[in-house]
Amino acid sequence: MIANLLILFEAPALGLQLLIDGILIGAVFALAAYGMALVWGVTNIVNVCQGEFVMLGGFVAVLCIEQGVPPLLAVAIAAAALYALGWGLFQTVIVHLIGRDMFNSVLATFGIAIILQQLMARTLGAADRIAESGLGSWFFFDGLVGVAKVKVLVFAACIALGTALAFFLARSRQGQAIRATAQEPIAAAALGIETRKVYGLTYALNAAICGAAGALASMAYTIHPYSGLSYTIRSFMIVVVAGLGNLAGVIWAALGLGIAESFAGFLFGPQYQIAFVFALLVAVLVFRNWRLKAQRRYLK
């Protein structure tokens, strides 16, 4: 670890490489986290199967691209498929969880996560997958820093998607209905908003966002049926750091997490990267709790 730290000091270009890689993956985290914040804010449900939605979106895209579907269309197909799944899950399961004890919703969505990861592993095999782009890389500083073109494309697509989503929430009627329901569901219902439909729309929209994020991620990063949970934890951590309804915060926290993970993966070795994510979650929660405790308030 210390040896790696020294390498980092001797070769600043390597640090730049890690920084760029971290920022590029951060956009995918931001998209998934934004979806989680949306569902959390509107329905008060922490969607534990968030990461499985991301993985499923990735698998849909990989399968489509293997069949010769153009990548951009594959992203759209993944988003549409996940929207349908999200809508179906809402009608059968999630609708019963709204307004209930948080324990039930965490356990039920954890159950959905287990079902999805097992189904993916059964039908697609528990192997790392990636949709090969064949786009190559740009090199800087005499080849010391390499940036895969596809990662930049994924980053740009995530930004575009996030911006579109933010506009949808800010300007469209349905976006307004979602925000109104998040603020005050009873008043929103009294004003004629069908809150149940809004909950369903929000949940399905979140699934579609995750699907698109996963589809984009699958073109630049490997996906695996069992690595969904780490995406859930990342999203949760980002939302906790940023706070609900703070889009700028989500982006900063996500990019920060991407950079932190990129450096941690180098310093501690890739086998500890997931452990680092989970340990960072605990550290973040403990730190926030410690700050709140000074005011005799608690994380709840």
């Binding site: 534990v48 948080m102 965490v106 059964r122 949760f236 452990a275 340990a279 979650l281 929660l285 405790k293």
Partner: protein, 353 residues
């Protein structure tokens, strides 16, 4: 009605009958001995989860941390007393050099189980003050993270076999049926756990835990030392989980860091499912839940091979969504017309009103 957890003569009789069944069971149905041992350990898992989750309202998703810790600590003690742990894991515990005679094996077990309890309890005590002041979602997700982080860390330490896992000592041939020994150890642990919890929950301590579950701020305002009570309950649960994990490790023989020891998506969530299925916040519930769950699980494994985990996931969702009061709660609600309102049925009515 009297205190729900007091050991009345009728309950003691029932318990004695159950213990007797447990003692003779392996003689009657030896073919199911290992499943029965697992069931007894599952009872301890479910009870220990329920002490903190059901009784105190702190729904932990990472209790598997203490199970895995107990498993590893016991295995390390069992091996480390006689051999070098690093060399042992490097040789995958096999070969002719790492042989345990009867005396060594029993000494290892006798010291390994208490060590597991002490290690799990100490870690729970250290973590307790950090995580037990979080509530709701934060506590749930934080504990989930802890359980999985532990598995990932264990998978990175070569001394305990890293990702390829660790074997518990090979039982010596001269010892006879080690499975039977583990069965009786598990039975003893399950009985000890039930009796300890019955005693705790019928005392003022049990009332304190329920007060914390119902309204922690009010409980604190009434002068209850909520923090001390929470940490105590968490430490007691962890100690039992640690010993159960140690026995479980010796039962399955092979400790995989993420699949057996810190198995969040299997044992970690099963213990919650068992407590919920039987009835959260009751003493009988987790026991009933564990029995029903173990039978269901074995049936799934037999008839749905390959899809059993999917089926268990469906069961988790179904119970969490449609059957949250569990078997004991359901029966109690049915009987409540005759026996007056039980504690559990009152909030249910308020919700429907």
């Amino acid at each position: 009605m009297g205190t729900p957890f007091a050991l009345t003569p009728a309950r003691l009789l029932l318990l004695a009958a159950l213990i007797l069944c447990g003692v003779v069971a392996p003689l009657l149905a030896p073919a199911y001995q290992s499943q029965a041992t697992q069931l007894l350990l599952f009872i301890v898992f479910a009870l220990a989860w329920d002490l903190v989750g059901g009784q105190m309202g702190y729904n932990s998703f990472g209790n598997v941390l203490f199970v895995g810790l107990g498993m590893y600590v016991a295995a390390i003690v069992q091996v480390g007393l006689f051999y070098d742990v690093g060399l042992y894991t490097e040789a995958k515990g096999g070969g002719t050099e790492f042989v345990f005679d009867v005396n060594q094996f029993l000494t290892g077990l006798a010291l390994g189980l208490p060590a597991a309890a002490v290690a799990s309890a100490s870690v729970a005590w250290l973590l307790g003050s950090l995580v037990l002041s979080m509530r709701g979602h934060y506590f749930a997700i934080c504990t989930l993270g802890l359980g999985i982080a532990a598995g990932q860390v264990a998978a990175g330490i070569p001394w305990i076999g890293a990702g390829s896992g660790m074997l518990t000592p090979n039982p010596p041939a001269g010892l006879g049926d080690v499975g039977l020994l583990l069965y009786y150890l598990a039975l003893g642990l399950a009985v000890a756990c039930t009796l300890t919890f019955a005693w705790l929950l019928s005392s003022r301590f049990g009332l304190a835990l329920n007060a914390i579950r119902d309204d922690e701020d009010k409980a604190e305002a009434m002068g209850l030392k909520t923090h001390a009570a929470k940490v105590t309950a968490w430490v007691i649960a962890a100690a039992f989980l640690g010993v159960a994990g140690a026995i479980y490790g010796n039962l399955v023989r092979f400790i995989d860091p993420t699949e057996t020891a810190f198995a969040g998506p299997t044992i970690g969530v099963w213990m919650i499912l068992m407590a919920l299925l039987g009835g959260k916040g009751t003493l009988l519930g987790p026991i009933v839940g564990a029995v029903v769950f173990q039978i269901t699980k074995e049936l799934f494994w037999t008839y749905l091979l390959g899809w059993q985990r999917v089926a268990l996931g469906l069961l988790i969702v179904a119970v969490a969504v449609f059957f949250p009061s569990g078997i004991v709660g359901f029966v109690r609600d049915r009987l409540s017309g005759r026996g007056g309102d039980s504690e559990e049925s009152v909030p249910a009515k308020e919700k429907s009103a």
